[in-house]
Amino acid sequence: MLELAIGILLGGCALGAGCAMIAGIGPGIGEGNAVAAACEAIGRQPECKGSVTSTMLMGCAIAETTGLYALVIAILLIFVAPNLLVNILLKAVGA
């Protein structure tokens, strides 16, 4: 029975990590829009290529933040949570 409980726990952690990374869609779309707009701007005014590129990189990095939150949560779920949760479970069972 304990094996089953631990298995469900580990599976839940892995599933949760996978679900968390769905958040990667948002930054992908956002950064795509940002780069498209930057390309348009450079096409219209090639002389301000430098400042447009640096502003775009900065904006992209900020748009990435939500994706990185998801990444951090996924990494915590994969590397940190299983140990922690299994210990809690074992303590609760008293084994």
Partner: protein
């Protein structure tokens, strides 16, 4: 051209060794303390020793040691670049130092205004610290920026700076700032105040960490692939991971050099933006002149 004196050369050698020796020491420490293992593992910073403390034990990890190494190396670089400054027939290193100082000066003045010109040393040091910490993984060392504690400390520092500059117009106007634009939004403003350092720390940490995780995954995959392709060869040739040569370096160029440098730049830019946004410069000077008028 005048011959350089012995003292000058000796100081140069000292500064150059200050730049190189910390990294060598970190590599030696890593080689000595890493246990032998077959598989590729994704682990956090290695814990060297624990200092017992009353509330919580103080843990000295690889990240702290490595960030100290970066600090010593950066001090050596600064001393080396500014050694022997002259007004005429300047050396290449003085040109380099002047170029860096001028660039950062211009950047800070453009994005923060003239009032914050004292911020130039802080901004360049946080940029250099962050960039060189991320570049440390080029040497195969643990980059301190992929530990949340290090980056969190910097973000906390920036948070204190923001709060200090918001408080400069008096604590009352600081509290009033939470009730902008409407009073019932105060809880949300309060949360967003504390979200700033958290988001700064997580952005930097997540970027560097994701790079190292992907690098490890790719290295493992390439090892498996080369085993699959040449595993039938006898002896040493079958175990030789020939695909692991060179290919991870291309990824490292993106994840370590480009991403690390970009994140350092963004951390510095965000610091400047948040601090200069938090400071109501017009109100501050209005209050200052009002105070002076009262004193008269």
């Amino acid at each position: 051209m005048k011959q350089k004196s012995f003292r000058f050369i000796a100081a140069d050698i000292l500064y150059i060794s200050m730049m190189i020796l910390p990294f060598l020491a970190a590599i030696v420490l890593k080689v000595l303390t890493t246990p032998l293992s077959n598989g590729v593992e994704i682990t956090g910073a290695r814990i060297f020793f624990t200092v017992p403390m009353p509330i919580q034990d103080l843990i000295i990890t690889e990240a702290q040691i490595n960030s100290l190494c970066v600090m010593i190396a950066l001090s050596g670089l600064c001393l080396f670049l500014t050694h022997g400054l002259k007004t005429r027939d300047v050396s290449i290193r003085q040109h380099l130092a002047e170029w860096i100082v001028e660039k950062v000066d211009k950047l800070v003045k453009e994005s923060m205004g003239d009032y914050f010109s004292g911020f130039v040393p802080f901004i360049i040091s946080i940029f250099g610290l962050s960039a060189f910490s991320s570049f440390m993984s080029l040497l195969g060392l643990f980059p301190p920026t992929s530990d949340i504690n290090i980056v969190g400390g910097w973000a906390l520092l920036v948070f204190f700076l923001i709060t200090y500059y918001k408080m400069k117009c008096g604590p009352l106007s600081y509290l009033k700032g939470f009730a902008q634009p409407v009073a019932f939004l105060a809880p949300i403003n309060f949360i967003s105040e504390f979200a700033t350092p958290i988001s700064m720390a997580f952005r930097h940490y997540g970027n560097v960490l994701s790079g190292s995780v992907i690098a490890v995954l790719i290295a493992t995959a390439l090892q498996g692939l080369s085993n699959l392709l040449l595993g039938w060869l006898p002896g040493f040739l079958g175990e030789f991971p020939f695909l692991q040569i060179g290919i991870p370096a291309i990824l490292s160029a993106y994840f370590d050099v480009f991403s690390g440098g970009l994140q350092a730049f963004i951390f510095a830019m965000l610091t400047m933006m948040y601090v200069s946004d938090g400071f109501a410069i017009d109100e501050y000077f209005a209050r200052k002149t009002a105070k002076q008028n009262i004193n008269k």
